[in-house]
Amino acid sequence: MCKPIEIGVSTLCANVGIERTGVLAIMMGTPNGHLTSTNPHRLPSTIAREDEHLLVAAAKKGDLSAFEELVNRYERKIFRLTMNITGNREDAEDAMQDAFLKSYSHLKDFEGTSRFYTWLVRIAANEALMRLRKRRPNQFSLDEPVETEDDLMPREIQDWGPGPEQRFAQTEMREILNNVIQELDPDYRIVFQLRDVDDLSTEETAAAVGISVPAVKSRLLRARLKLREKLAKYFQQRGGAN
């Protein structure tokens, strides 16, 4: 059930009513080395969702302070999204501003079958991708690179030890994660941002970026493996130093 709306040059799915809990319906490593299924809770509490619903209802009636509260709540995430897609601060800022403006002017199209944030993400992703295409028309390679087995084979395979993230202060960890994400090839970073961070489906990601579903899967695999490899360098270095 998807009501398309036209915003900018692309069509967005404005009321995706599917709560995807499976973006990382993943297998956890346990102390005994076995793998078990987990279902990470990525959604806000019921209270937060009801609160969001009330804010959206008030904003629809023209309550700007309610809309501003929604902006306050999501501006950091939306700016990270637009930065990770455009790779350019000026474009990221413009895309964020237009995403919030368009979300307000199209609030009547938001039917509340998904979270407001989910809907906002699609608008912001579209704004960011439009700017990226304008600035770098050849940014997206539609073809997959010719790969050898060695391309995918992981390096830096050492045990991180227990709680590697606890060796870093929260701000230091955030800086590390930000650095490794920025070091990713933009093709991989964009897919990672949309698919893993913003919870778009594989098909939605493919449509947004203009590549095939297999290409999304291939780039997501590479993005995740590269993220692991780059983080491993920090964790192993720090582990060795201690």
Partner: protein, 79 residues
């Protein structure tokens, strides 16, 4: 199963998108191969670390401009 075949399926394994037969084949491989087991566990953790990290605060001037634009442009109820 060879390590290169296992690595190629790690993302689908993490997302729970594999058929039963291939999933069991991978699980069997991860039990035998410490390297591939570490890769799948660390890959999952790496993604989780990023998802759990709070985005940075907006730079002050970016936030000021955003809220200034919104106040200026959103003076009427949504159409």
């Amino acid at each position: 199963m060879r390590c290169s075949e296992a690595i190629r399926e790690i993302s689908n394994f993490i997302d729970g998108e594999l058929g039963a037969a291939l999933k069991h084949e991978l699980e069997a491989h991860f039990k035998e191969c410490e390297h591939c087991h570490l890769v799948v566990v660390q890959t999952k953790k790496a993604v989780e670390f990023y998802l759990e990290s709070e985005p940075e605060e907006l730079p002050g001037e970016v936030r000021t401009r955003l809220h200034g634009v919104l106040r200026k442009r959103l003076s009427s109820p949504p159409a």
